[in-house]
Assembly symmetry: C2
Homo-oligomer: 344 residues x 2
């Protein structure tokens, strides 16, 4: 099976035809050019020998590698596995595969891994690392019209397609849920504002509060440097020190919400009774946390699936319009939210 690779020439020889004929017979697209009987002979020979087309050699000729690259901050962030899984499944039918590259939010590393991906002649790129303002390397690729799709984020320049959840609506659901419970002093721990997710969620928080007739004091908002537990905890710590009267907090994502949990526990406050917490993403095990986290569900697997389809479309046709897909978000109520403590 590996001793020596079975090549198209071997198949052609077996079938008693020229390699180019064998190629035509094996490729679905060109099969109609070949006599039916010949097709049969070739296919049988291929089968008998266990022939497997060499994707690379084919790519060298056709200028297609059947590979897309994906840039993401870190696969161990629970947000990404379902997205990646969706992408993989979406690419599979087209016999495409994805090569992942973790950037660890480091722009040097991003450049390096991007370089490696381009060295492999990827046919397209999926970005989960997009900032609102793309770095020069990405800008160049856009200019060069490399098929590209953003997941979970958008760029200010909307000439690149994206698939994300409806963050504006999601945050509104979160705020309305808390207001419905009777909360009025609601805080927001936002994410980095250089990302569209951070910006949109913050923006929607402010808007939704106003819409509910609540003042949004600037003290009620603090930003985490990054969408992780520790920066979330730091931000919420600052906020709570300044405004110990808040009864609820909307976190920009679930990991930041976990950071808020830590701060509350440290201050001997009970999550859900003393202070309500809402997260964002409904990540894996959000339902198993202590207490189970009320959060906004985003269809991550679907996001990945649609992103795969979009990038395949762009690879297929030379000119598709950029689209901004926004999949619906929904609220999942669990035990981390409850009536405000002064209503008890």
């Amino acid at each position: 099976m590996l001793g020596r690779r079975v090549t198209l020439r071997d198949v052609a020889e077996q079938a008693g035809v020229h390699p180019s004929t064998a190629s035509r017979a094996i490729n679905e697209r060109t099969r109609s050019l070949v006599d039916d009987q010949t097709v049969d002979r070739v296919l049988q020979a291929a089968d008998r020998l266990g022939y497997r087309p060499d994707t690379l050699a084919r790519g060298l000729k056709t200028n297609r590698t059947f590979t897309v690259g994906m840039l993401l901050p870190d696969l161990t962030n629970p947000l990404f596995p379902p997205i990646v899984r969706g992408i993989e499944d979406g690419l599979e039918r087209a016999e495409y595969t994805v090569i992942l590259a973790n950037t660890d939010n480091d722009s040097d590393k991003e450049r390096t891994v991007l370089r490696a991906l381009l060295g492999r002649r990827i046919d397209g790129l999926i970005l989960a690392t997009a900032q609102r303002e793309p770095p020069p390397a990405i800008r160049e690729l856009i200019a060069a019209r490399l098929p590209m799709v953003l997941v979970n984020r958008t760029m200010d320049d909307q000439s690149v397609s994206s698939v994300s959840g409806d963050d504006r609506h999601g945050i509104r659901l979160a705020v309305e849920h808390l207001v419905g419970l009777g909360h009025t002093r609601i805080a927001h721990v936002g994410g980095p504002q250089r990302t569209s997710t951070g910006l949109t969620r913050h923006d929607s928080f402010v808007e939704s509060m106003s819409r509910c007739g609540l003042d949004v004091d600037a003290d009620l908002i603090e930003f985490a440097h990054w969408f992780r537990e520790a920066p979330g905890a730091e931000a919420f710590h600052r906020l709570l020190t300044r405004r110990p009267d808040v009864t609820a907090v909307v976190a920009a994502n679930d990991l930041i919400a976990l950071g808020c949990y830590d701060v509350l526990v440290e201050r001997d406050l009970t999550v859900g009774t003393d202070v309500s917490v809402v997260g964002y993403n409904d990540m894996l095990f959000a339902d198993k946390l202590c207490p189970p986290l009320t959060t906004v569900r985003v269809p991550h697997y679907q996001i990945g699936l649609r992103a795969a389809q979009l990038v395949l479309d762009e690879i297929g046709e030379r000119s598709t319009e950029a689209v901004q897909l926004r999949l619906p978000a929904s609220l999942v109520e669990r035990a981390s939210t409850g009536l405000p403590r002064d209503a008890r």
Copy 2:
């Protein structure tokens, strides 16, 4: 940058040398064959033009694709992201990349994706799906001497290298911890016995119990069909119905432990006080569960890292001996274990 790819010929032309000279100058391994000044000229030209070697074309010639494949059941199982991340990081320095393929524990799918991987001429294979008895396709690859490394699992035939945690010791730590707390009626919800992990953990459970002077009644053991919550819950349900007197359970992994949580909650029993539960893996958020899970920590990232090194070694040298690497496991005590209820 993409308009037309910069090729080695372009670089050679710029530098006023023959393409093969340019190739030698650019490749570190052959650089010494070229005059220093020429090297400089070539490197400068390459830099100026933004040349990036074409990994595929190179692979076609050298019979190396700088790619390894990885078969895993499902990336969204929290066990895998840290392992994959370790593999990716371990391969990076060698400019290798990994292509993931999810099998969903379906042997048909495994064959299909394996076929796709082989079509890409992977230089090696990392298996996270190993059963104790490998399927024929894998057996063929072993016979063909495709560099291969197992992660987190081993095969009965030890001719393939593997990297895993020390399951035998890990389970022993779990049992001793429970015995130390005073438990005597300790159950085990095992994993599938066709996997080495399932088998070893069960085996070590029996051995460790005996070593502690406790009888291992056959009723105290039940197996989950698979390492996930639902099968774990079903198994523990059967067990508890038969033996409601157990005060502690050692689960074959954390997800099975979560299944046990569900069963206990359903029966109005409190995890950690009514029944103690120990998991295995210390997966992401095991510390944030309700209650935080006592479990055995396995260094997954390190497992991935070492696996990457091993497969690179095997790819590099034509004949390395198979090794079975076992990295140390340790117990992490949290709130899901406590004194037996009859000791309170």
